[in-house]
């Protein structure tokens, strides 16, 4: 209920003075309703150059085949599956924020869920391009579907984890898309009712005729909650099934039962890092500091710290179990990872994923924006290395030493990977221009309870425990968007 006031001990989720419902709409729609600024154009130009590189490299692959990649007889999976797992993992944060945090009633999700869900969709698109790319004959991609055919019918191999992946990824993508779009409807309607001419007509079609009547909202909330409830096990299942691609094989280094939880933790870890990479820039460029506050940034950094530590424990457990199993091949696979020719990849992974995120134990670092941004990039580099280490170093020395090789990427491998980052940013930058990057309706919901001004009013009324007020004003010190002078007299 809107009139209920939240405890003063909780930090505010919306900062700033004189925030009204209209101001939220104006602030969030500013980038949608106005011409983009220079920063957007610079970013968009760079991103589309990357996307162009992707188009070229992937077309090259389709034309000449996967022989253009650096793969060889021993290493049959390399940058393609590394890129695929990396992108799918990044996508997981969006669903985690929109679904899991909704179930746990974490209101701070309200201002970051929209862009995180968009990020999920774009990341899964990037991941899917690797699936099609590595098929060799992508025009036969429909062979992964159980369609009746003239070979029997010869059905798909349901016993394969790769088949499970087809179902998991396609379900994940389509359910995320519908979750995201349904959530967008009220905000698209806001744009529609403020626009004129052709823009109004376009947004009118996109808004599905949303009006915001009582029944619509009531059903909307039911749908959101149930979608959150079913997306939560879905998102956990997706990376579990991705890890089956490895865990169900008999390859030393892959055949481990720890993979599903370890992959899921890694996915959340890298996903939150990518959200951080995007939002720390976006809040500045789009002027959303009052909605994406230091509290949000610090909370995300805490999640990065937690999941990074889980990943670290998983690495060490994996190593210990390899030794403890007494299986010579398993032991060699792990010693080779840490001390073999790919030692640098292993130690990059260890440094970026396990050591540097531990810096987030320090509050000063958690609330330092440039530092948090750099660390988020380091986490993503580390998570790319994790997949590279799992895939390439496990494969490159197999059971027969005469077939031991190294993997060297070609320009096509590099082009597709760098290009997919460009593709991702192109889609994200277009998104923040045409659709609201913050879920306005959900942020408006917080205005009367969790905003700084509502809490200021409570303080001014003066019926609060002074120690609570002290705690609260101390907590405000970390915010970069709060004017502390108004609290001095209190």
């Amino acid at each position: 209920m809107a009139s209920h006031s939240e405890s003063i001990i909780r930090e505010p989720l919306i900062t700033g003075k004189d925030i009204t419902y209209a101001k939220i709409t104006n602030d969030v729609l500013f980038p949608v309703e106005n011409k983009p600024n220079m920063a957007w154009w610079v970013g968009f130009t760079l991103a589309s150059l990357g996307a162009a590189l992707w188009v070229f490299s992937i077309s090259w692959t389709f034309w000449f085949g996967v022989g253009e990649w650096g793969l060889n007889k021993t290493v049959g999976w390399a940058w393609d599956i590394t890129g695929f797992v990396w992108w799918v993992g990044i996508g997981h944060a969006g669903t985690l924020i929109s679904a899991v945090l909704l179930i746990f009633r974490q209101n701070w999700r309200n201002s970051i869920n929209r862009s995180a869900e968009a990020m999920t969709i774009f990341a899964v698109i990037c991941a899917a391009t690797y699936i099609f790319g590595h098929m060799g004959r992508p025009w036969l991609a429909y062979w992964t579907l159980p369609l009746p055919n003239q070979y029997g019918s010869l059905w798909v191999n349901w016993n394969s984890a790769l088949m499970m992946d087809v179902f998991a990824i396609s379900t994940y993508f389509s359910v995320s898309l519908i979750f995201w779009y349904t959530g967008l409807l009220p905000d698209i309607a806001s744009i529609r009712d403020r626009a004129t001419g052709l823009r109004r007509r376009i947004y009118s079609v996109l808004s599905f005729g949303w009006t915001g009547s009582v029944k619509t909202w009531q059903r909307f909330e039911t749908v959101s909650l149930i979608l959150a409830g079913i997306s939560t096990p879905l998102v956990l299942s997706v990376h579990t099934i991705v890890s089956f691609d490895f865990a169900t094989s008999l390859e030393p280094g892959w055949h481990t039962t720890i993979f599903p939880p370890y992959f899921v933790a890694g996915a959340i870890f890298s996903g939150f890092a990518m959200v951080q990479t995007l939002l720390l820039i976006a809040r500045k460029v789009l002027g959303l500091e009052n909605y994406i506050t230091m509290f949000h940034i610090e909370s995300m950094n805490k999640i990065i710290l937690l999941t990074g530590s889980i990943v670290g424990v998983a690495y060490i457990t994996e190593f210990f179990i390899a030794w403890y199993s007494g299986v010579e091949y398993e032991q060699y696979a792990f010693i080779n990872r840490a001390t073999g020719p790919y030692w640098w990849a292993y130690w990059s992974m260890m440094t970026c994923n396990v050591i540097t995120p531990q810096l987030f134990w320090f509050k000063k670092i958690r609330i330092n924006i440039p530092f948090a941004w750099v660390l988020s990039i380091i986490v993503n580099i580390g998570m790319w290395f994790e997949r590279f280490v799992i895939i390439v170093t496990s494969l490159h020395r197999d059971y027969i030493p005469s077939s031991w090789v190294m993997f060297y990427p070609t320009w096509t491998d590099v082009g597709i990977f760098v290009g997919s980052i460009g593709l991702f940013f192109t889609m994200f930058l277009l998104f923040i221009r045409v659709l609201p990057s913050v879920a306005m309706a959900e942020v408006k919901l917080l205005l009367k309870t969790s905003s700084e001004q509502a809490k200021k009013k409570l303080i001014d009324e003066g019926h609060l425990d002074p120690t609570h007020v002290d705690d609260y004003t101390t907590a405000l010190e970390k915010y970069d968007s709060v004017d502390l002078t108004q609290y001095q007299k209190a």
């Binding site: 379900t171 808004s207 949303w210 059903r219 039911t222």
Partner: protein
């Protein structure tokens, strides 16, 4: 006879709007609908809107999805083309779990969302039936059917007493059809 079709009480605060609803209900004036830029918790109880049954729809669609894919799996792996993989049983149910799970979720999600769209008349290209353009921005709008609900001045007064910033007497039901 006045040409007013709808009386709209526009509020800038959801709590005042709730008072407006109470004021109208105390005077037995039926409310046509309420349009808000965000969900208002507790309003359904006040207006007597029944709880949504979309959860049942989701459950049924989920069961359907799980059964469909399980049947496909059974047909292909056990009935149509059983394969001998190292003498293992054809009906290897653990392998069925991921597929059954994914399609249960897929059908539940799409079934429920499309039921929601159908029940609420949401589809691409539907003409928005908007009574006040600011109802998706910063106005909380109570709409009262003016026909048969007289006198209009009393309704206006009741809304204003609750704190309506503006009361409109619209001669058209929807303003979005220009």
């Amino acid at each position: 006879m006045s040409s007013t079709k709808f009386i709209l009480g526009c509020f800038d605060d959801p709590d005042n709007m709730m008072h407006g609803i109470e004021n109208l209900q105390k005077n037995s004036i039926p409310i046509y609908d309420v349009y808000t830029p965000m969900p208002i918790h507790g309003i359904e109880a006040k207006l007597g809107v029944k709880e949504s049954r979309l959860g049942y729809a989701a459950f049924c669609f989920g069961c359907l999805g799980g059964s469909v894919i399980f049947s496909i799996l059974y047909y292909t792996l056990v009935h149509d083309w059983p394969m001998n993989v190292g003498g293992k049983p054809h009906f290897a149910m653990p392998n069925f779990v991921p597929f059954t799970f994914e399609w249960t979720i897929l059908f539940a999600a799409f079934g429920m969302v499309f039921t929601f769209y159908a029940a609420t008349h949401l589809f691409p290209g539907r003409a928005p039936r908007v009574m006040d353009l600011r109802a998706t921005d910063d106005r909380f709008v109570i709409a009262v059917d003016a026909k048969g609900n007289v006198p209009h001045d009393d309704i206006t007064r009741l809304l204003q007493e609750a704190g309506a910033v503006e009361v409109k007497h619209n001669e058209r039901k929807y303003v979005s059809y220009e």
